[in-house]
Symmetry: D2
Subunit: 240 residues, 4 copies
Amino acid sequence: MVKVTVWNEFLHEKQDDEVRNVYPDGIHNALAKGIGTDGFEVRIATLDQPEHGLTEEVLANTDVLIWWGHMGHDQVEEAIVERVHARVMNGMGLIVLHSAHFSKIFKKLMGTGCDLKWREADEKERIWTVNPAHPIAAGIPEYFELEREEMYGEHFDIPAPDELIFVSWFEGGEVFRSGCTFFRGQGKVFYFRPGHETYPTYYNENVLQVIKNGIRWAAPSGAAAPVRGNHQPLEEIKAK
Amino acid sequence: MVKVTVWNEFLHEKQDDEVRNVYPDGIHNALAKGIGTDGFEVRIATLDQPEHGLTEEVLANTDVLIWWGHMGHDQVEEAIVERVHARVMNGMGLIVLHSAHFSKIFKKLMGTGCDLKWREADEKERIWTVNPAHPIAAGIPEYFELEREEMYGEHFDIPAPDELIFVSWFEGGEVFRSGCTFFRGQGKVFYFRPGHETYPTYYNENVLQVIKNGIRWAAPSGAAAPVRGNHQPLEEIKAK
Amino acid sequence: MVKVTVWNEFLHEKQDDEVRNVYPDGIHNALAKGIGTDGFEVRIATLDQPEHGLTEEVLANTDVLIWWGHMGHDQVEEAIVERVHARVMNGMGLIVLHSAHFSKIFKKLMGTGCDLKWREADEKERIWTVNPAHPIAAGIPEYFELEREEMYGEHFDIPAPDELIFVSWFEGGEVFRSGCTFFRGQGKVFYFRPGHETYPTYYNENVLQVIKNGIRWAAPSGAAAPVRGNHQPLEEIKAK
Amino acid sequence: MVKVTVWNEFLHEKQDDEVRNVYPDGIHNALAKGIGTDGFEVRIATLDQPEHGLTEEVLANTDVLIWWGHMGHDQVEEAIVERVHARVMNGMGLIVLHSAHFSKIFKKLMGTGCDLKWREADEKERIWTVNPAHPIAAGIPEYFELEREEMYGEHFDIPAPDELIFVSWFEGGEVFRSGCTFFRGQGKVFYFRPGHETYPTYYNENVLQVIKNGIRWAAPSGAAAPVRGNHQPLEEIKAK
């Protein structure tokens, strides 16, 4: 049973009819429902909750945290960002979706600007698998299409991903590294591109399958925590 | 249930008392026993069997193949090497142990010489985890020791691994990239260094844990097989 | 002065008017002229020469070998493939262009099938830089276009490149990892996609700039050759 | 001519006789002298200068910045860290030495804790080349020794390096990824381990050779700056 927390800023859905029509209960609830209960224990958390719903206790009981944010990035408190970061270093998986490329936590983990090109034009996206050996590609066809999505284009200002799994093609002439993994500390991070708030992307079966695969991949490894700092004296070692 | 085939050339054990004392039923049977049955369905195959025990049927029913070889590399038929290679391209996992760095199948998959330094001197090896987020490190302490092993030293002539998980320290002054993963085609390859035939390495709990982790990691991803070759005419695409 | 040898099978140009019209002196001579003499000393070699023009002496005096082949892959003798491979292991750079993805030497160095999707449809290609920090991108705009090229599409069956520099977009809906580097042994390999024989691609300034950058990047590193095999006895080490 | 700025906190040398005896003019001047003038134009900067010597003008005229810090990490102003970070994103190379693994700029660029094991015990270090094809290994033997150094041990809490060039062996039983490169934005980062302030490490010829190689490698690529943000409307693209 992987313990999943789905975090959503939950702002667009309350302010914008177009978005509410697509996600009447919020993106977080659509994701939670889409992930389902087969092997997962899912809870939700949102920006407006105390400590954004990400208390020490919640994080200690989270194996994988999913993050969706956009217009509210600046409202996320630094202390919570630090807490999430520490928990990733400590083994928690993190799945960063779409516009969360600009979230504080993702930028902190990447160390780069994380900017990209974008265009809202009801454009077709094709998502190609470039690493068919990777478990995050399980059950995914060699490519799948989203009829209408926001375009994200290169250069995506991230470190070279440890594993590149998906590359997107857009009608207007752009490409994008859409599925990227990053090992960080004892934790694992998976960035997955699709999911603009005005499109029903998080009802798409392939998108949900990728996210479920990502959760399984990002779950804590269970390796021993490294010991760091001042180390055993050499004399002791030699005395053995 | 992951279907595992343990392949061993099974030569040293028949010719050398020192080795037979350590592995009376052969390295393959020690490995099979060590891997156990909790989630695994294990069979064995050896060089002296017809088609080296690696018939089309056996490979089609193998999720992960483990390979131990040393003095008999040259006796492995090219046709079988090609068959195993094709099956890795097609999704089968491959775990390459110790002296199998010089096996035909590993050299073919790497594209490099795969040579290294070595020394037999009853030397202490310390295996350090350098990627504690990786599932192959699950349950492994930050380092573990093998009191006596053959030394393998850099430069190990392999491509830079896709993921570097373990680095070994040797008493005599050498280091070695001991746990390396490689995505190849639809398949996954894991090279793990320890296991000289004269030492009881394959009874070591940490070594067995790593191998079991490796099997789980290397199991087929289940992604769709890519379609290659001449592709759909552009006219058809545009006509859509 | 980097010593460059441009190798071309030189078959299409002799058999096909359409190709000869584009490259009247052969692709090799167009490339040699395009590379120029500013920092480079360029010679050519072709399939029909003795030893395909790649004698021990020629290779010993080559820092970077450029390879273009297509219909004649099978005519390249194994002994010459082995010789080129040994020289790459020994430090020579290798630049593999377009349809040479299926050359014996590239397949041997990659260890995978190296297959891909393709379509000849006078299609537009856009080549995007995804690593603007890499020296192979020097002087290249964030993207450039080739008005008409053959499409190559994923999945490109190569190991994950050590560095991914360019990704192509094609009009018909495909993407492709078009600029890929691979460290192999003491040598460096750069695969660059463009260059179908019926298009004037090797007159394009950006394409030539990339190839010149690739030559500088792939030139021998000058690191010491590793010593491998049976190593200094531990007793000697301890006696020091 | 590569424009190099050597930055040193310059604190130990003023406070501690043992360090001053080794580096009477400070580590920065020893490094500047060791780098020399053959292809390099070197200036120095220190913590106690206005803006730590890293004004906008200085950074605009710096191709590669070398950073040595230890006890004064906290004294480096955030604004200067942001400025250096922005300049790396913009193409400047950065070479991070030894205890600067804990500098604000390195931690910001890595996104991880950057902690490690350490021990001061006049211990022997052996630095092995694991990527002999890399230009940073130019002129370096397959391994070299430093008779006395501080030990740094794994787990080194960094992202997996884009290229791993050197791995250290220490007498007491530890290993360390000592030479690591990272592409970040348009810039390149090279971390190199040796250089504890009480040892004459920066007079060692191999160490200086590695640093000089690192400077050449880290110099700006000259690729076009990516354009990011809201992109050309699809209508315009289709109208073409």
